[in-house]
């Protein structure tokens, strides 16, 4: 790197999970940049996970929405017309205004996203609650951490996360509940991993129905029966209250309600073991270590939050920390780990339907008055708005007639997603602001507004430890795209509202900071969230802002003062209850959903990086082999997963981590990259009564065979039209697109069929083929100028060759004779060169390479594997898998 490039290095933050890692980006021309970890950022100290490290691969403009568009015919999927910003906004604002005038402010809604920057979020919230006059603004954070918010408010009187990242390094015991940290928050997991390497006595307990990659490092894994966490933590509370770990002084001086909580937690370890389907000795081992370890952190994530008892689960956990006084001190506390980059920022500005702004409450008149006064706004919402699931039901029922969806894709992410389809087709006005042109949701938009993407937008985000970081744009705005706050402000001005004359995002931040300090005094409306000190930042100060954690310069609850007027924390009685819909009868399995290691949300960004597609190129349903047998499905074949609400199709996999009675499907796939893999369509629309967070982790389903005539895959430099193929999934490769397919049609003449599918009209095309007609096996490769252009492999069974070697040929300038001879075999004709499925995405190291090295060189540790074949040496996300391989290879063959 030369000196001038060094000067261009821009510090920003990663747009994926809630860890909020610092990233250094060096622009390389208008649409590309090299990306590395920011060694000065206190979240990650220079490390990045595989997704963050691949950010540079996601910056191209293919598929970007670059100009405002309107859909004149109003039909879903109908033709879009490019228009000017003025025309688009006039139309959006005009129709919005007409609807509000006729049906009142509650007939419109905003549905926003934890992907927004704090400034965008602030403006959206201000617009709805202070000017439109409705609290109908909800966010996809509802699907993610609203149970944690509700739990915090019930226990602490304010939405506060009382743990810092460096507490993880100081803890003697970490309990992870419903969190596959190794895959979903890899940098935090690595901080724990390194701490544990330095201090092997440090304990890690993982509570998760699945045996995830996180469990590879655990001293104890408790595979609880899905939905039974409250039993487990109630049992722990009862156990702690009986023993010596109880902190009587803390309870007496700083809490209320222990007795009520204990009354609802009257359960013995034996009963817990039975309810949670765990061995009683494991339950006791967990309870004993928890009791014996003062410095304990209980980290929790979606496995806790996404439940019809999510808020109770959060409080059951917090209760255990309160009864032992393990809060507000280094190395301990309950720790909500958020899923989105700026879910926390959204919480600070109050961007949810049941919040106001700056940790002020919608249901308190004095809070409402304070905010309205601060804003000088014409009105203020005075009752909670519709939460995500209710909102889309209200759209379907016609109560809400206009919705503006910003930076999110509810057609994919909401439960009962087919209901969302019905709702959006019915809405009078759907506005969508997005960076991507084609999404399942945008197909329903009447007005499409191009927003700035990660590399271009500029503002602040807050991570899981309440650290505010600047996200800085480093690439020019493409096309006519604008920042979300700009779009919102222009829209607001068209509605005739003042208060939106911001010239720069720093002005919004300053107003937001001022609001956090507004009337924030012990004798007025005290909140711990106070960043008033940052309100005086000028533009240069804002631009240069270094990561800063609030409360500034102090630890949350260090003084044991909580945010209720009496300063005491609350024990919340949590009566255990089963998930709303239990498995049985027609729907015997419990569907769990979650992420895979190398993808993010609906894959609009991560899906573009070839490196990230290799780990899991296709959606799957992970089942216990015995359940698979009962359902009549087999590993590698396709299955339909159906619930009462909807269905999807995915490939059956036996990952080895699933207990009997459960099934797991990843959340990422959608109508843009798969024929029928939206798990949202299957998930039950049941929500937690307090937080409104949907129960994504517990839907009764049935799994049955999805019969097909043939399985196949295509790797192609040019995109294919797969309308006629009953099952397909698309994944981005390096220089090609990969399609996994299956069909129900009987193929007569394979050659003609394949050429038509691949769009080859030239009869003299360089076309290699292999046919075993009676066995239904067909393979063909299309070569252009000595380079592989396309290949197709078809078989009646999913016994197709590995894609890795063929994929590698797409980067070859000219095929060597030996390679050409091997293409139809799908592997080099010389033995031994097949590296197997990718394990380490960073260095592209395959499973076979690793296994061979372990065997040949007798490797014993992951460090030795890394030293030998590099795998695991960069982001470390694959270390658990390497550990597994090491364990497997130890078993004598």
């Amino acid at each position: 790197m030369n000196l001038s490039q060094q000067h261009l290095s821009i510090a920003t933050t990663c747009p994926y999970c809630g860890v909020g890692c610092g990233v250094k980006a060096v622009p390389q021309g208008p649409q590309s940049a090299t990306v590395s970890g920011d060694v000065d950022h206190p979240s990650n100290f220079g490390r990045l996970c595989v997704k963050g490290a691949a950010l540079g691969e996601t910056l191209g403009l293919e598929g970007r929405l670059l100009h405002p568009q309107v859909r004149d015919d109003g039909q879903p999927g109908g033709t879009l017309r490019q228009v000017s910003w003025d025309e688009a906004l006039d139309r959006a604002a005009g129709q919005w205004r007409a609807i509000v005038d006729e049906h009142g402010p509650d007939s419109v809604a905003l549905y926003v996203s934890g992907q927004l920057l704090t400034e965008d979020y602030y403006v959206a919230n201000k617009l709805m609650k202070g000017y439109v006059g409705s609290a109908n603004i909800d966010t996809n954070s509802r699907l993610c951490m609203s149970s944690a918010v509700a739990g915090h408010k019930r226990a602490f009187g304010e939405d506060l996360v009382p743990v810092n990242y460096d507490d993880l390094e100081n803890a003697d015991m970490i309990v992870l509940v419903g969190s596959n940290l190794a895959w979903c928050h890899p940098i935090l997991f690595q901080r724990i991993m390194r701490a544990k390497e330095a201090r092997p006595d440090m304990k890690l307990v993982v509570i998760d129905p699945r045996r995830t990659a996180t469990c590879e490092l655990a001293d104890l894994h408790l595979p609880v029966k899905p939905g039974t966490d409250v039993w487990l933590f109630n049992g722990l509370l009862a156990y702690l209250a009986r023993g010596e770990a109880v902190d009587a002084a803390f309870i007496a001086n700083h809490t209320r309600g222990l007795n009520d909580a204990l009354a609802s937690a009257d359960i013995t370890p034996e009963e817990v073991a039975k309810a949670c389907r765990l061995p009683v000795e494991d339950v006791l081992a967990f309870y004993e270590s928890f009791a014996a370890t003062a410095k304990v952190i209980t980290g929790f994530s979606m496995g806790v939050n996404q439940s019809s008892a999510g808020t109770d689960k959060v409080n059951a956990i917090i209760n255990c920390h309160l009864v032992t006084g393990r809060i507000g001190k280094p190395g301990m506390g309950p720790f909500s780990i958020t899923g989105q980059p700026n879910a926390m920022g959204g919480r600070e500005v109050g961007g949810l339907a049941n919040m106001l702004a700056a940790h002020l409450d919608l249901d308190k008149p004095e809070h409402r008055a304070a905010v309205q006064e601060f804003w000088h706004s014409p009105r203020i919402a005075d009752k909670p708005g519709l939460k995500a699931v209710d909102l889309f039901q209200a759209i379907e029922s016609g109560k809400v007639k206009a919705v503006w969806i910003i930076a999110t894709n509810p057609m994919v992410s909401l439960p009962d997603a087919d209901q969302v389809r019905r709702a959006l087709s019915k809405a009078e006005l759907v506005i969508a602001s997005d960076v991507v042109r084609d999404t399942d949701t945008n197909a329903f938009a009447h007005v499409l507004l191009p927003a700035l993407a990660w590399a271009e937008k500029d503002g602040t985000v807050t991570n899981s430890e309440r650290r505010i970081s600047r996200q800085r744009g480093f690439l020019p705005a493409p096309g006519e795209a604008k920042g979300d706050w700009q779009i919102l402000c222009e829209f607001a001005r068209r509605l005739g509202y003042d208060g939106f004359d911001f010239q720069h995002q720093s002005e919004i931040f300053a107003e937001h900071a001022r609001l956090s300090a507004w009337r924030n005094a012990a004798d007025a409306l005290p909140r711990l969230f106070d960043i008033g000190a940052l309100a005086s930042l000028d533009r240069a100060g804002y631009d240069g802002l270094q990561p800063v954690q609030w409360p500034i310069g102090r630890r949350v609850f260090a003084d044991h003062r909580f945010s209720f007027p009496d300063g005491r924390a609350r024990f919340v009685p949590t009566v255990p209850r089963l998930p709303v819909n239990t498995a049985g009868g027609e729907y015997p399995l419990v569907l769990n959903t979650g992420r895979v290691r190398d993808q993010w949300h609906t894959m609009t960004r991560t899906g573009r990086a070839p490196k990230l597609a290799e780990h899991t190129p296709e959606s799957f349903v992970d089942l216990h082999p015995q359940d698979a047998l009962l359902c009549g499905v087999r590993d590698g074949e396709l299955a339909r997963i159906s619930s009462q609400w909807g269905s999807m199709v995915a490939r059956v996999r036996h990952g080895g981590g699933i207990a009997r009675g459960s099934a797991f499907v990843p959340i990422h796939w959608n109508g843009q990259n798969a024929s029928d893999a939206r798990v949202g369509a299957v998930v039950n629309p049941v929500v937690d009564p307090v937080s409104g967070e949907p129960e994504f982790k517990h839907t009764p389903v049935m799994v049955e065979r999805f019969p097909v005539q043939w399985h196949g895959f295509v790797l192609s430099r040019t995109p294919l039209d797969l309308d006629k193929v009953v099952y397909w999934t698309r994944a981005q490769g390096a220089g090609f697109t990969r399609y996994e397919m299956a069909g129900r049609n009987r193929i007569g003449d394979f050659g003609t069929w394949a050429r038509e599918l691949l769009g080859i009209a030239d009869a003299d095309a360089d076309w290699l083929e292999y046919a075993d007609r009676s066995a239904g096996v067909y393979r063909a490769v299309h070569i252009v100028d000595d380079r592989i252009a396309q290949c197709i492999f078809v078989s009646p069974r999913p016994d197709l060759p590995e894609r890795a070697w063929l994929a590698g040929l797409f980067s070859t300038e000219a095929l060597a004779d030996a390679e050409r001879a091997g293409v139809l075999a799908g592997r080099p004709l010389k033995q031994g060169a097949d590296t197997g499925p990718t394990v380490c995405s960073c260095f592209g190291v395959g499973r076979n390479t690793i296994c061979n090295a372990i065997r040949d060189k007798d490797l014993k540790t992951t460090a030795e594997v890394t030293a030998c074949v590099k795998a695991g040496g960069n982001c470390g996300s694959c270390v658990p898998e390497i550990r597994q391989l090491l364990a497997q290879m130890r078993v004598p063959a």
């Binding site: 290699l768 292999y770 075993d772 007609r773 009676s774 066995a775 070569i783 075999a825």
Partner: protein
């Protein structure tokens, strides 16, 4: 005094049998050999490279006159046997020479089939069978320009290629719509035709020769549809007929050829026969591999070590045209219920087809890349069950192992 063995035919089949016999029982017989051609024994298969100028006649000699002398064999080259007297156990040659036998081995081979169209006896009309034919063709190539080869089988194509190499303009006339239809399926035949066309050969398929035209030497070939093409040389390669007149006249049982049993013995227990002139079960023979096997079996019986039986086996074919790789073995068309595996790489000029019958490989046609031919041949011969490696089979032994 030793028993006498008389061999009629100084070709590859007869002499291989003698060689095998000498290896088993060097001093058992007084051996006398009669041959029609005035040479020692040579490798007839290699006449094509001689015609193409890639080899000389000396290169293809198998047994020189010295060899006969050294092994005490009386050789009458250029003096064919014209009569067998089985009662007296005597053979008489064209020159009137009579030799008595205790055992007689007939290895008279075959003779080319000359299509009996008008003009077939004109000068300039040749077969492609022996050194004399090659010499005539070489001299015609020196003096003339237009050659027509009638018969697009293995031999015809080799002849055509040789003549082309000798500078002639060559047209191959073939009666069916695909070349080498005895050994190739249509796709392979088309690839072959394209490759040969690229070298300058011309082809007329589905063409029926009506006559050979010329006043005192051939000048043209006429077809049934009336068209004519100029020809200064016509080579007939439309198949061969077993050479059995002598055996027939001796009263030996013949059908299409001399009928022999599994020991290569004719209906007269003193008379054996090997090579292209025999019929074993329903089959006659043209390729070298089964004939080598016959020689081995026959020699064993002549040596008195009579434990071998001749068993028919598929034999592979290769075309000896430099630069064209072609391999065909077994049942390459397939019967009802058989299955096939096909690989095509037109740009690289590769075509492979394997024919399966149940779990066994029964035939293979390889074009362009023939290196796995022997492996397939082995699988066919062994009757190996290939079902487990069916999907790797076409990619060769490295993947299937």
């Amino acid at each position: 005094m030793k028993p006498a063995l008389v061999v009629i035919g100084n070709g590859m089949a007869g002499m291989r049998t003698v060689e095998e016999l000498l290896a088993l029982a060097p001093d058992l017989y007084d051996i006398t050999v009669f041959g029609a051609e005035p040479h020692g024994n040579y490798n007839r298969i290699l006449l094509s490279p001689v015609l193409a100028g890639e080899k000389s006649v000396d290169d293809i000699m198998l047994n020189t006159r010295d060899w006969y002398e050294a092994n005490g064999i009386a050789l009458h080259a250029g003096d064919p046997v014209v009569h067998i007297d089985r009662r007296r156990r005597i053979v008489r040659s064209q020159s009137g020479h009579e030799v008595g036998y205790d055992r007689l081995l007939i290895a008279t081979g075959s003779k080319p089939f000359i299509i009996p169209v008008p003009g077939h006896e004109l000068p300039g009309v040749l077969a492609f069978r022996d050194i004399a034919d090659v010499e005539s063709m070489l001299s015609a190539a020196h003096d003339h320009r237009h050659a027509v080869v009638i018969g697009g089988g293995l031999l015809g194509l080799e002849a055509a290629n040789g003549l082309l190499k000798q500078g002639m303009e060559v047209t191959v006339v073939h009666v069916t719509d695909a070349l080498m239809n005895q050994q190739l399926d249509k796709p392979a035949a088309q690839l072959l035709q394209r490759a040969l066309e690229a070298r300058g050969l011309k082809f007329m398929l589905e063409a029926q020769t009506a006559g050979i035209v010329g006043p005192d030497r051939v000048t043209a070939v006429r077809f049934k549809d009336g068209t004519e093409i100029p020809a200064d040389l016509v080579v007939m390669t439309a198949g061969v007929r077993p050479n059995i007149e002598l055996a027939k006249s001796a009263g030996l049982h013949c059908e299409r050829a001399i009928v022999v049993d599994d020991t290569l013995q004719s209906y007269d227990p003193r008379v054996y026969a090997v090579g292209e002139c025999v019929q074993h079960r329903r089959a006659t023979f043209g390729l070298v591999a089964p004939i080598w096997e016959q020689a081995k079996v026959c020699a064993a019986h002549l040596a008195g070590a009579g434990h071998r039986r001749y068993v028919q086996q598929a034999s592979p074919t290769r075309l000896k045209v430099t630069g064209i790789e072609l391999y065909s073995v077994g049942d390459f068309i397939g019967a009802e219920g058989s299955e096939d595996l096909v690989l095509r790489d037109a740009r690289r000029g590769v075509y492979k087809r394997l024919v399966l019958d149940g779990p066994c490989l029964v035939g293979a046609v390889l074009y362009g890349d023939v290196q796995d031919g022997p492996w397939y041949f082995d699988l066919i011969q062994r009757g190996a069950d290939i079902s487990a490696m069916r999907h790797q089979l076409l990619f060769g032994p490295a993947l299937a192992a």
